[in-house]
Structures are given as structure tokens and as C-alpha cells.
Symmetry: C2
């Protein structure tokens, strides 16, 4: 195994950045890249640090490359936008194996291609530890169509996509196995591992929700529903009450939680990294909204209601408890 070199890395990045897209006026190899943009640009940047955001001892580099991009695309999904261009800043230890970062890049390039997104620039530097900073540029479906966190109103219904807690359970299982080499994860829990190792950004769903015209506020779930819904409520100046029994979960979640000695609702509300969407639907419009979304066959669940006040409250067996900002802090 040999260490990476800047020349090999930049050659591979340039190869991966090749595009026929005429909106890329100038790609990698100059002081800046130059892009043809629409009137409205969405931008987000995220930094992932080894041993805080990922564990290379069990995260295969190809899937980590995919995930590093996915979590950034998820921010565009949360606005109902279309991702277009990506910049990569890679800070890599000098002794990092070339094979490892090559596979990381292959994973990153594969997901970019999948979402029709183009690598247009970045930087590579040497550092003590692995740090990936990814910047993604996108555009809303139309100039006034981006969905903010701040639009929720009293009486709106609260919804989430997909299943929650899976990624948190997957991570906990992988950490458990790391420390208990005799433990073998049951195959029934494979989806939970996948949710942590290889999440997909809800790009298509985000766009369908924005296009529906019924969605008043939206964000992605990266720090756990308890925290992310609290952000949405704070930005909107409202509170939310959600029903424990309605929170969508994977069939294997309870078994995994049992095994890990915790509660499945804890994973759902607090573990984070599901990269699903939490959103609100205009008061009284749940029925036409559902009819509108049936056509796109998306997996969404109503979990509660927006109320006056502030904070997020969980109703469980007739007991109501505040859970605002109890999610995971990265």
C-alpha cells in the first residue's frame, strides 16, 4: 500500500470534474471556477471531521465518500432545491493510503453523478487528521419556491419522511461490535447499518413537497427530530406537539434498541443523522396534500400539529413532555 500524492489526487479530481455541461464556463485549473447561474442560488457548506463525524475503522471509504456528499445534498433537499455544483476541500494526513482516498473519491463522484451534480473545484492540503469540507450550490425549483424553516403556522400539520432512528441504531450497533468482537449483527438489522453508512438525500421528495404548494416549512433531520423540529419551530415562532405512537420506525428498531439497552423512541427523537425531512403542511390542507403526494408515491407520515407557544412536546400515553433540543450535538 502506498500513500497518496497530491499529483495523483488532483489528476483523479480533474478526471472526475470533466463535464459536457455548458453551465460550467471554467472548471478546475484556474484561480476560480466560473459558472452560469440562475437568479437564485442556494448554498450550503459542511465540515466532517474524523472520529467526530465518522469512524474509518468501520466506515468503508467508498460509502463515506458517498455519505460526505449526501449530507450536503440533504441541505439542498431541505429547501426543495435542485443541487448543481460541488466543491471539495480535502485535508488529509500525509500517510493516508492512496487506495483509501481513491475509493472515497469514487464514492463521492458516484453520488454526484446519480444526482446530476458536477464537481467544479476545491482544494487539497496536508493536515494532522482527516477533514472534509464540502460546499454545494443549487437552485430552487423557481425563484420564489425555496422552502424555509420559518413558514410554519399554528394549526399546520407536522410530517416526516421515511423512518426515524435507523441511522442512530446502525451507528450504535457498529460501535457495539467494534468493542465486542464476538458480536455479530443480525441480518434483520442490515437496513439500520445502511441508514448510517449510506444515507440518501431526499432530493426528489424535497422538490415534490416544494412543488405541491402545501408545505409551509421544512428542514432535514441531522441532529435528531427533537432538535431539528425545535429549530423549525423557533424559526417560525411556534410550538409543535407530536404523537409518540405515530413516529415511523423500522421493524427491527425495537429489537435493536432492546439489544443496545435503550428505548427506540430515544433513537427516533435524539440520535440524528437520518437525513429525512421534517416539514409542515398548511392548516386544513392535509387531505389535498395527501392526494397530491399519492401520485409521487413518497413515504411520508403525519406525526403532529403546530401550536401556539414555543418548544417541541411529545405526547405519549396521555403524558406530554417537552423534548426541545434534546438531539445529538455534533
Amino acid at each position: 500500500m502506498s500513500a497518496w500524492s497530491e499529483r495523483k489526487l488532483i489528476d483523479k479530481i480533474r478526471q472526475g470534474a470533466k463535464t459536457e455541461n455548458s453551465d460550467v464556463l471554467l472548471s478546475i485549473g484556474d484561480d476560480c471556477c466560473e459558472l452560469q447561474t440562475t437568479a437564485c442560488t442556494l448554498i450550503s457548506t459542511d465540515t466532517l471531521v474524523e472520529s467526530i463525524h465518522f469512524d474509518t475503522s468501520f466506515h468503508p471509504p467508498y460509502l463515506l465518500g458517498r455519505k460526505s456528499i449526501a449530507v450536503n445534498l440533504s441541505d439542498i433537499a431541505a429547501m426543495g432545491g435542485r443541487p448543481r455544483f460541488v466543491l471539495l476541500s480535502l485535508c488529509l494526513p500525509e500517510d493516508l493510503e492512496w487506495e483509501w482516498i481513491k475509493e472515497w473519491l469514487d464514492g463521492a463522484l458516484a453520488i454526484l453523478q446519480e444526482y446530476d451534480c458536477i464537481l467544479v473545484g476545491g482544494d487539497t492540503v496536508k493536515g494532522q487528521s482527516l477533514v472534509f469540507t464540502i460546499t454545494v450550490l443549487g437552485e430552487p425549483l423557481a425563484a420564489d419556491k425555496a422552502v424555509y424553516r420559518s413558514g410554519a403556522g399554528v394549526g399546520d400539520s407536522v410530517w416526516v419522511s421515511g423512518m426515524l432512528g435507523s441511522a442512530g441504531a446502525g451507528l450504535a450497533l457498529l460501535n457495539y461490535r467494534k468493542n465486542h468482537s464476538d458480536f455479530s449483527i443480525p441480518s434483520s438489522m442490515q437496513d439500520l447499518l445502511d441508514a448510517h453508512l449510506n444515507p440518501s438525500p431526499c432530493i426528489e421528495l424535497g422538490q415534490a413537497l416544494a412543488a405541491s404548494g402545501y408545505v409551509t416549512a421544512m428542514q432535514d433531520i441531522s441532529d435528531g427530530l427533537a432538535t431539528d423540529l425545535a429549530h423549525l419551530c423557533k424559526a417560525s415562532g411556534v410550538a409543535a406537539q407530536i404523537q409518540a405512537g405515530q413516529l415511523p420506525r423500522h421493524a427491527a428498531l425495537a429489537e435493536a434498541a432492546d439489544h443496545l439497552g435503550g428505548a427506540d423512541n430515544d433513537l427516533i427523537l435524539r440520535a440524528g443523522e437520518d437525513y429525512q425531512l421534517v416539514f409542515t403542511v398548511k392548516k386544513g390542507a392535509a387531505q389535498p396534500f395527501m392526494e397530491c403526494m399519492e401520485q409521487s408515491k413518497q413515504n411520508i407520515t403525519q406525526i403532529g400539529t403546530i401550536t401556539e407557544g414555543k418548544g417541541v412536546f411529545l405526547e405519549d400515553n396521555d403524558e406530554v413532555a417537552e423534548i426541545s433540543f434534546q438531539g445529538y450535538e455534533h
Copy 2:
């Protein structure tokens, strides 16, 4: 002294990101920021790593904050563009002092204000070492006015702005003093220290050069003239011959080089980080170009000529030597 906290840091960043500019449709506090953009967007991203790109033992945090932004704005200057928006990703050790990062941010915010540039987003994470990733968005003066590296033609003249080697000499002096506590840097060399600690991006000059219509290729000097002019020549498919006697230098450079036991031309050609511009002027147009630039009172010097072939060659006392890519590798 107390360590930084994410809450205090984000409060300060939000405060610094406040703007009346109506092109910022949505600022910090959502999944993305949303910007009103022109048809053409310039983007660049740079990562600065402690002990590779900067030394906190002698770089005051306020000036380091300024410089971290300056080196990014310099990439926009090199396209003849106007910087508009900046995203900051800060990876900070847990025990970093709040005062230190507060001053870093004050410096960063001051230079952003100076260049009429708006902080619109970013990320803050904990990590083992200081890593700053800055992404800057700008726009060319007009849709077809960005100056690339690739436009130099045979017979064009080669020019640089400012004085070269100052930043390299300043860094070498600071490193020398770090290891020789009895050494005091002569006040005649203060400009050299400033060139390393507090460089300014050539935004105004870059725009004037792009607007002149005579400049065929341009880039900034970050890795030393020997490397950066070689990049420009490679991108343009040409060679360059430059005259040692014409390289502009500070009055104190020779004395500093003597003291450091090196040659001043080495600092000029190879030390880098001057963040001046190297550019080419259309064949036969040096005279009208100079007249055009006289009005803007910019400090620029003709140093050589573009020729056929490849590589960068230095003519010194009738001897010609190739110096391509002999600059500093970060």
C-alpha cells in the same frame, strides 16, 4: 481565559452576518443560504491548516483572520472579479481560547467589510487542529470579462503587480526570530513582516486590468512566481522568459536575504504568498496599456515576454535558466 463554545461562536457569526443587502434572500440559520446571483458566478475555496499554512506562535489572530479571507479574495482578484459572498468553515480544537477565535473573527469580518463582501454561512466543528476552509463567491465585471490563465499568446508581455519576495522574507525572518530569541528584526524590515502577516488582495487592480481590455491571462502569486507563471504558461500552451534585473523588490529585501543567508531572487521566485498578480498584456499593446493604467496609479512592472514552447526561463547576466515550478509547495 476560557475556551470557546459553539453558542458564543455562532452568536458572533450571526451578528457579523447581519446585512441590509437585498441580494441576501436568506442568511445563516436555515439549511442553506439563498442568494440573488448574476448570470455568472465565480467561486473559489481554500483550506488553511495550522503549522502548514500559518504559525499561531507569531501570527496575531486578528491578522490571521484577515489573511485567511484575503488569500481567498485574491482568487477573485486574479479573475478580475468582484467578491460578494463568503462562507466560513471553522474546525477548532476544544481547548482553543475564546479570545483567540473572537479576534480571528473580528479580523475576518473587518476585511469582509472593507471589500464590501458579506458573510452568508458556514459551519463550526470540533477537531484536533485548527483548519479554516473559506469559500468565496464573486462575479466578473461583465458576463464575458473574467480573465483566465489560458489566454496568453506569443509576443505578449509579462507583468507583475507590487513587490515580490516580501512575504517570503517576512516569514523567514519571523521563523528565524522564533528560534533565536535574542534576534530583533530591524524596523527597516517591517514591510516584509506585514507582507506575510497582513497581505491585501489586489481586488481593485484585478478589476482595472480586466476592464482595460489589454490583459490576456492572469493569476495570483501564491506559490512563487516560478510556479505561478509556469501554471499560466501551461494553461496557455506557451513559455515565458523573464529578466532577473526587472523583478520588483522592496528596498530591504537584499538586506533581509543576506541576513537569512539566501539570495533575494530566490525569495522573489520561489517563496510565494505575495498575493500579487502576474499577468500578460496583448502583443504590441504595452504602450496603450500603460497609458490606460496610469490613470489608476497602480504599481505594476513589466518583467518579460511570452515565447513559443513551454516552461518559464530566467535571464540573468546573459545566462538563461529554466525555473518552471520551482516555487513553494504548500
